[in-house]
């Protein structure tokens, strides 16, 4: 859909060539290079192929790649990156970011020396000095470490060790974090607990007993066995799975149906057989309509329901609790649930993994108690959610809802691959519960071709209790959403200092940025270790400069990705005065009296940790660069479920509740997406911050090659929404709500549902004309989900004020904020 329609190839083909050039009738000429017999075949291209030293290592952000790579070095410089096929070659992988490390290793944003904020001292921290105007002076490593250790000791003496928070992000996927936690445990510091992307997994866990972030799913190599793949709320080809894209493409090529449920017409949706353009926050309604369809069609998997779920379990009508074997049989178990045999109606205590002709539906009186089966309860619950009933609310055509779930229910094995995005709505845990049960109905657990999450399980190094040794007395843990209250108000306890590694919490992934800034400005000491001078570093009192991944050896686990561990060999020694986090941890441990608890060298530490994992042999891993963990099962959920009954719970009589809603069965509950949300008129647009292919969280922001393709933050907005506000394509807009604002360029994008706007995440504050996308997000979490709800956010949009300074993107500077670092050449 272009003004002149000229970008489309079919239009090009049909274009005016004939008119402009004429179409001749005679034959075309062959190239006549043969006449130039003195032409040297390779006259002008000087090749260095074969001259590079090639070092195998691993790319290490918290994406789903964990890609083994070959780094080519020549003349003392990293020259290029290529994927290195691991032992199991089908996991050869890399993406636009991992291939671009030449742009990161030498970037001017890299930290070079330990530094101290110029106006900070342990006794007079000048907290207001933290932020954009802070100035730093170079100090020695010893001075920096002494300052930190002394302050930690004095805080421990005066306020207890828990007044120090050890905060760990996910920016460096190695084993160092375990030693960081080990030091925290020995010292007694407060430790960080995850509060991001834990929503969907929590809901799934209530049903299956499994799942923390997203639940385990079959390894990627098995996905091509799927006959139906429902990708739900995930642009799987742009983020999380793009390096394994070939696995899904192979499934499609083999005839699988790809369904995409997403309010956005994503790259993934563009490949789908069926796209369901759901409205934000209506996913549970949609899942319930799918359940309704399965009941209506009677396409549920009876054998599976009888053998592996509590579908036949009886619910007491008097209490709403499940009837227990101890209520029926003298020697019956108190956790054991009861079903009745079809025909005889005689009660049977249900064993895990045991099928039988149990009645799935009906009302029965057993031991004098009136009961109904769990599946009856569920069927009655979803009776109100016929596809026609939810079509308007969800924005999805009723017949398309039916088609999608019919494919999953009737075409053989398949699955649902939900994303973390669903958990970025406040009550996202309910979706986790809903789809776990829906897949129970279709029997899609424990089979080849089943999918339960949009990234696979992968391999993790089993390091035992290294992070929390037996003799330690660890401090409390604090989940991310509770940081501001703890730092500002001392609730639940006062945090006075933070030591942060692998995290750009001020720059990304922490919502309500101004309040987090206030929280950080309440601290007496803020120690930040990083590779780059991020927004977070700019708020630090003490800066520990960390080397690029290629300058630190480590063991990378393939968690969430592929079944190998990788040895991250050093490609080069650390540049400048950068030092591995393990060095700082060990030196601090020395100063705090725990020096003997940490192996002398990082390699010793890695060897020790690897020694705790029976699947791994350190020397093999070191030599090969990767080692496949043979114990990682390709197909998940083949054993008894770790629930009280050993079965999938199709009814939860011990369910949590929030805001007056109990989750015995999945019940929709919405926050800001609700039709009657009180400020919906004031802030009419939902605001999401999609993961793009161009950054991993806030990492790789500085890649100037990528910035030539994707130069600045933008607001994806449907043209209708833009025009209604007098906003032209490419004009700058002010996006605001009652927490803050940002100014970015509007991008007309018909892929976005009217009423929904987006700015891709990962930009630093230097990239925004004004503000930051996290100035708009909030830190309210649901009681049950305890997960930051980044997408459950409303904004208003208007043209940017005339006096806004957009110079950095408009003065002939195609690279925007990165331009100082990267002058452009050519035209």
């Amino acid at each position: 859909m272009t003004d002149d329609g000229t970008y489309r190839r079919d239009v090009l083909k049909a274009g005016g060539a004939a008119a402009a050039l004429g179409v001749g009738g005679s034959g075309f000429l062959q190239s006549l290079v043969e006449s130039e017999d003195d032409q040297d075949l390779n006259a002008s291209v000087q090749s260095f192929v074969g001259e590079n030293e090639v070092i195998q290592t691993v790319c290490s952000p918290n994406c789903r790649g964990k890609c083994p790579i070959d780094v080519h070095v020549r003349d003392g410089q990293v020259k290029k990156i290529e994927p290195h096929p691991p032992e199991d070659e089908q996991y050869k992988r890399a993406c636009v970011l991992g291939l671009s490390h030449t742009q990161r290793v030498y970037d001017p944003t890299r930290l070079k020396f330990p530094m101290k904020r110029a106006d900070w001292s342990p006794d007079d921290p000048n907290p207001e000095g933290r932020g954009p105007d802070a100035e730093f002076k170079r100090v020695s490593w010893d001075e920096a470490l002494d300052l930190v250790a002394d302050k930690m000791q004095s805080l421990k003496a005066d306020h207890g060790a828990e007044s120090v928070l050890f905060h760990e992000g996910s920016g460096n996927y190695g084993q160092t974090g375990k030693s960081f936690k080990r030091l925290a445990s020995l010292f007694g510091a407060t430790q960080s607990a995850w509060g991001i992307d834990t929503n969907v997994g929590r809901g799934f866990n209530r049903v299956t007993g499994v799942g923390a972030f997203l639940p385990p799913t079959n390894e990627a190599e098995d996905w091509e066995n799927a006959n139906t793949i429902i990708v739900w709320g995930s642009d799987i080809f742009s983020s999380q799975f793009q390096m394994d894209a070939s696995k899904i493409l192979d499934a499609i090529e083999n005839g699988a149906k790809l369904v995409v449920v997403d309010p956005v017409y994503t790259t993934t949706a563009s490949k789908a057989d069926l796209w369901l353009p759901v409205e934000p926050g209506k996913d549970v309604h949609l899942a319930l309509a799918m359940m309704h369809t399965v009941f209506e069609d009677e396409t549920y998997d009876e054998d599976f329901l009888q053998k592996r779920t509590t579908a036949p379990a009886l619910i007491r009508k008097d209490t709403g609790e499940l009837l227990k074997a101890s209520d029926v049989f003298e020697d019956g178990g108190e956790q054991q649930v009861v079903a009745v045999e079809q025909g005889t109606n005689s009660p049977v205590a249900l064993e895990p993994e045991t099928g039988g002709a149990y009645a799935l539906f009906g009302e029965f009186t057993v031991a004098g108690v009136e009961c109904q089966t769990a599946l009856t309860k569920l069927r009655d619950h979803v009776a109100d959610y016929a596809p026609e009933e939810v079509a308007e609310k969800t924005g999805v055509d009723a017949e398309n809802i039916r088609t999608a779930i019919r494919w999953l229910a009737t075409r053989g094995p398949g699955g649902i691959a939900p994303s973390y995005a669903l958990g970025r709505y406040k009550h996202g845990h309910i979706f986790g519960q809903a789809y776990a049960m829906l897949m129970g109905m279709t029997g899609d657990y424990g089979r080849h071709g089943n999918i339960h999450a949009h990234h696979s399980g992968g391999a993790t190094l089993a390091a035992g209790n290294w992070a929390s040794p037996e003799d330690a007395d660890p401090g409390p843990s604090l989940t991310f959403p509770n940081y501001p209250d703890a730092m500002i108000d001392g609730d639940p306890h006062q945090i006075r200092a933070v030591y942060s590694i692998e995290s750009n919490m001020m720059g990304n992934q922490f919502p309500d940025r101004q309040r987090f800034r206030d929280a950080i400005r309440s601290l007496e000491m803020y120690v930040v270790a990083d590779m780059h001078h991020t927004d977070t570093v700019q708020h630090a009192d003490i800066i520990f400069p960390v080397p690029h991944w290629f300058e630190q050896e480590d063991i990378s686990s393939g968690w969430g990705s592929h079944p190998h561990l990788g040895y991250r060999h050093k490609v080069q020694e650390p540049l400048w005065e950068t030092k591995d986090d393990y060095y700082a941890i060990q030196e601090l441990a020395d100063r705090l009296g725990f020096g003997d608890r940490f192996p002398e060298t990082k390699r010793d530490m890695l060897r020790k940790l690897a020694g705790r994992d029976d699947d791994i042999d350190f020397d093999t891993l070191f030599e090969q660069g990767t080692q496949k963990k043979e114990s990682v099962p390709i197909v998940k959920y083949t054993d008894e479920f770790p629930t009280e009954t050993g079965r999938i719970k199709m009814y939860d009589d011990d369910a949590p509740s929030e805001e007056g809603v109990t989750f015995d069965v999945p019940r929709p509950l919405e926050d800001r997406t609700a039709d009657d949300y009180e400020k919906a008129d004031e802030y009419p647009l939902m605001f999401m911050q999609k993961h793009s292919r161009f950054r991993i969280h806030s990492q790789y922001e500085m890649l100037n090659w990528v910035r030539e393709i994707n130069p600045e933050p933008q607001l994806d907005i449907h043209p209708k929404d833009a025009k209604a506000r007098g906003i032209g394509d490419g004009e700058y807009v002010r996006v605001y709500n009652d927490r803050g604002e940002m100014v970015v360029k509007a991008k007309y994008n018909d892929a976005f549902q009217p009423g929904l706007v987006n700015t891709d995440q990962g930009w630093w504050s230097r990239d925004f004309v004004e503000g930051h996308l996290q100035d708009l997000t909030h830190n309210e979490v649901s009681e049950v989900g305890q997960t930051m709800a980044f997408y459950d956010v409303r904004v208003a949009v208007e043209p940017a004020p005339d006096d806004v300074d957009t110079d950095k993107y408009e003065s002939g500077n195609p690279l925007g904020a990165g331009a100082e670092a990267a002058p452009t050449g050519g035209d």
Partner: protein
Amino acid sequence: MTNYGLVIDQERCIGCQACAVSCKQENNVPMGQFWNRVLTEGGEKMDTPSGGYPEDGGSGSLDMQYQPTACQHCENAPCVKVCPVNATYTRDDGIVEIDYDKCIGCRYCMAACPYNARVFNWDEPEHMPEEGTGDVEARPQGVVEKCTFCSHRVEDGLDPACVVNCPADARIFGDLDDETSTVSKYINEYETDQLLEDRGTKPKTHYISGEMSPGRPQTSDKMESELDDVSPWSDGDDDVPSKEADSVGSESSSSSHSVEGGEIPYATPAKSGGDD
């Protein structure tokens, strides 16, 4: 005779830009320029669809596809015909290449190329990092440059960088004159198009659209013709990772606070016993 060509399966292409960036890296392409660009067939801007959002809940008319585009290595290349100094020429293996020593920068070839595949070094080319990347020398100011099908790799039996680095296996390189090659088979078996076919340039880049192919069959970075067995995951990579580095001097670290032009510190190769 060898006649190299490329098949790009647009059904597989996910627009991830890995080919665009790895091309730039491999070929030391200057800042501000790409030899290989991933065009969006759809809306006006990158990653936007054509059509309208379905307001009736149906699947609507939105449509989007990616079209990676570089030099098409035309059999009937107009750029070759206009070059007054014969700097742009077609090699015996079908690759259209530029002799940068001969190029006088008249840019007639750029005007003649219907694919916008060529870029011109107006100024002294700049690179990030300044010393450049990849496995070929930088080109000087005042010449035209473009995709070479990674001829420097091909001569060593390696597939072009964009082909090896595609995570969707959407790019297949090989000999169009060899009937048994995967590129030839795919061109026969699948519906393929060439860009701007009506201009008679006979591009050697063929696009699959409609039915998806199984993609590039080998995992190895080697060309198909170098492998005995072209079944998936056949191993052609016998490179052993180098753990031992030559000792290359240790006075290395710059004391500068920032990396200014030319001040990228010379990195000390990692020591095998290395710990900090």
